[in-house]
């Protein structure tokens, strides 16, 4: 590394101040020349030897400007008044490092996000910018030259969620030759995609394009699969996470069971499967979620199995007929906990369907022939409960008139304000399938047809060719009660009336149909805030995980080492989920390949000679980094565990705990700088 300019203590410091125009973003509101002049003149006594203002400090030219000044003017510290440090702190630290100044002797003064963009009064904004520059100069004087802390990265990666995004991420990391732990809460991989019959716009069969990836993930030597399991606890930090995975009991021994299926066949209990079959199919008490389940293992549902219900230990048919020796049915199997060390975590926890019961006027749960889109997907699926036939609730008769209602629960301030991105396309696909399977008259009720993807609008044209009727209007209600006997006689009993204003025709219509399909929107997982807390990341007000940057870094989060992919961060279609899975994997591989990660050198440490052993700080650290040394009656801080929050630094009555990066001296100086009143000194004209 280049020779470092020796940082002299106060007095001989040579500070360079650079005020950025950021085009007109800053210069449009803040008088950048006057701020630069202020730094050069009013802060000369504080060590500022040079102050410039320039159009784009973050540009190559801007950076070279600093490098040139450091060499020609022997600058020892740099202050850049521009945007938020979250954007370019690394850039300007890099400039210093390249030109022989310790990177941590540079500071950014945020005069764009905190001044120019949020104030309109130019004079007040300029005055505020000057104060912030003064505060930052005082602070930078107190900065110490530091070295980034190198943290080793454990090469194993944790992927949470076995949907298409999680599978993709796990496969990409494993293919690169690194270990992956894939944890899935349900009994099999596949996520919601496994429930679909066809996918838009290509009408590929969902199972045909998903199961190969599931099988690959299931059998990949580098992927350790934990299905029917949940992550219970996460400790540690990027590169060194200790994760506790709770394997829920399957009551089937995974190593012995061959997946022959006799137990499922013999089990006498048939119950409604409201998980995979979305409530319109049945399953046994011991069951596979679906035929192509990976792993190919059944799981026993203790709520419906007679052995457990009433605790009388009855039936046990599955155990009797199980051919394996020793018997793979284990009624007393308990939950197991496994702890693992991983370096990075990818959350691909997916989405929940909006509960259509929350709109009573659509009649779901009350009117027999009102279905949700997932129920229709299961009906269309050849492996589904109706063998691919689209039928009404009686299980036999095919509908002659079907209504498909878009935006159920979406784009509505009473329910979910967001648009679910895929529910128009899913409605078009379902319209096509219903038309194809039953030849029925199909009515789609929409507010806007949104077909943003490749070949999406072409698919819409195809559905128009099918002769599907499109009525623009948000459906007001669905009722089975005719308005008057005349309407009843026209449509026969059992008809459902979709009451809507056809906004293009400008009149209120009551469209009689036999079957209504509610295209419900995507919602964040109901437990997304708990999961967020477990992994130390935040949820937005509507419940989706928050990205590090909505546009520039959508798969990272603010917590180093935790990444998000797929619908966990917001509604998106399958191609986007797959590409986010790959993107998250690429980012993780980048970290693994580096082998170590440079962390902010922000740590606390105890000056033993000043520590009075009062132990006030001992209880303050949730990371147990603070420990009391009995023999020497002083406290010590374990730098590896310390996360640098500084709570102990603030609490120490003797000031014995030092905090690098945010020391008391730095903050006191910044306060003084911010509040220094320059009006008394004569304004140098």
């Amino acid at each position: 590394m280049a020779k470092q300019n020796k940082p002299e203590r106060d007095g001989q410091e040579r500070i360079g101040v650079y005020v950025c125009h950021c085009g007109t973003n800053i210069a449009g509101v803040v008088d950048v020349e006057s701020v630069a002049k202020f730094a050069a003149e009013d802060l000369k006594d504080r060590g500022v030897v040079l102050a410039r203002d320039y159009t784009f400090m973050c540009s190559v030219a801007g950076q070279e400007l600093i490098e040139q000044d450091i060499h020609e003017q022997q600058l020892t510290r740099v202050v850049v008044a521009a945007c938020s440090p979250h954007l370019h702190e690394k850039t300007f630290r890099g400039v210093c490092e390249r030109s022989g100044v310790n990177p941590y002797l540079s500071e950014m003064a945020s005069i764009r996000e905190h001044v120019a963009w949020v104030h309109t009064d130019k004079a007040a904004a300029t005055a505020k910018a000057k104060a912030i520059v003064s505060g930052t100069v005082e602070r930078v004087l107190k900065n110490d030259p530091l070295e980034a802390i190198k943290v080793p990265i454990d090469a194993q990666t944790l992927v949470v969620g076995g949907g298409i995004a999680g599978i993709q991420a796990a496969l990409e990391v494993a293919e690169a030759g690194y270990e992956v732990v894939l944890v899935e809460r349900e009994a099999s991989l596949g996520g919601h995609m496994a429930q679909f019959d066809k996918t838009f716009p290509t009408l590929d069969c969902a199972a045909c394009i998903l199961t190969p990836k599931m099988a690959a993930a299931g059998s990949h030597p580098k992927i350790h699969l934990f299905t029917w399991s949940e992550v219970e606890k996460v400790e540690g930090y990027v590169g060194n996470y200790t994760v506790t995975v709770k394997k829920k009991p399957r009551y089937v021994d995974e190593d012995i069971c061959t997946g022959c299926g006799i137990c499922v066949e013999k089990c006498p209990i048939l119950v409604v499967d409201d998980k995979f079959e979305a409530g319109i199919g049945y399953r046994k008490a011991i069951y596979w979620p679906f035929a192509q389940a990976v792993p190919n293992l059944p799981v026993l549902d203790t709520e419906t199995c007679t052995y457990y219900v009433g605790g009388k230990g009855g039936c046990k048919a599955c155990e009797k007929f199980c051919p394996t020796v020793p018997n793979s049915i284990k009624f007393d199997q308990k939950a197991e906990r496994v702890t693992l060390r991983v370096g990075n975590i990818i959350l691909a926890t997916g989405w929940d369907l909006f509960d259509a019961r929350r709109i009573p006027q659509y009649g779901y749960g009350r009117l027999a022939n009102v279905f949700t889109n997932l129920e229709l997907e299961r009906m269309c699926n050849a492996a589904g409960p109706t063998g691919g036939k689209v039928v009404m609730r009686d299980g036999q008769s095919a509908p002659k008139r079907v209504a498909i209602i878009h935006c159920v629960g979406s784009r509505d301030r009473n329910y979910n304000r967001h648009c679910s991105a895929i529910c128009c396309m899913q409605s078009l696909k379902l319209a096509h399938l219903v038309k194809e399977r039953t030849g029925a008259e199909v009515y789609n009720f929409y507010i806007d047809i949104r077909t943003p993807g490749k070949e999406y609008d072409e698919f819409y044209q195809r559905v128009l060719d099918d002769g599907v009727h499109f009525v623009r209007g948000k459906v007001a209600e669905v009722t089975d009660i005719p308005f008057d006997p005349a309407e009843a006689s026209r449509n026969g009993s059992g008809a459902l009336y979709v009451q809507v204003e056809d906004t293009l025709a400008g009149l209120q219509r009551r469209v009689p149909v036999d079957m209504v399909v509610l295209s419900a929107g995507l919602e964040p997982r109901r437990d997304s805030s708990e999961v967020g807390k477990t992994f130390g990341i935040a949820c937005s007000t509507s419940g989706w995980f928050i990205e590090k940057h909505a546009k520039m870094d959508p798969i990272a989060t603010m917590t180093e080492g935790v990444f998000i992919a797929g619908c966990a961060a917001g509604p998106k279609d399958i191609p986007a989920s797959v590409s986010q899975g790959s993107a998250a994997a690429a980012r993780v591989l980048n970290y693994i390949r580096q082998g170590e990660l440079a962390l902010e050198p922000v740590r606390a440490s105890v000056l033993a000679e000043q520590c009075s052993g009062c132990r006030i700080c001992n209880g303050l650290c949730p990371f147990n980094a603070i420990s009391f040394i009995e023999e020497r009656k002083v406290t010590e801080i374990n730098a590896a565990l310390c996360q640098g929050c500084g709570t102990c630094v603030a609490a120490c009555p003797a000031g014995a705990i030092q905090g690098t990066g945010f020391s008391n001296e730095q903050l006191f100086a910044q306060i003084e700088g911010l509040l220094r009143d320059f009006s008394r000194e004569p304004e140098v004209v």
Partner: protein, 158 residues
Amino acid sequence: MTDATFEPVIIGFTCNWCSYRAADLAGTARIKYPPNVRLIRVMCSGRIDPTFVLKALSEGADGVLIAGCHPGECHYLEQNYKALRRHRLLQKTLAQFGIEPARVRLTWASAAEGALFAEEIAAMVDEVKALGPLNWPARPVPVATAPAEIPVLGEVAA
């Protein structure tokens, strides 16, 4: 004594993970709020030592805003609760210095709440403007501040 031209100066302590990003988000969303607050970034609201607040007030600030993550969402798990404890204690100390407790306000703002944080700042500016300038060093300390009900030791012993 609040003349119309008084513009309070308020020092704002924000934590790197939540409230500082809320301020950034208010910026990217171009949400306007009064320019009276000057922000300082710390890693966590737990880092804010009550002496920083007293230092800011003695240096001429008319108010101090402390903004951390919502309880339960702290990047360091629970350190914002300690900021809450310190703020409650500080309120008592301020009262004894004759400083209106409303001048030091504690609030929470998550990274997604740019608009809320801007509103919080605007509300505080109005409140401090109503209280008038602090210029603490010159402010007389009210005498009868000790609450009467502290029993004299003698009575307790008897």
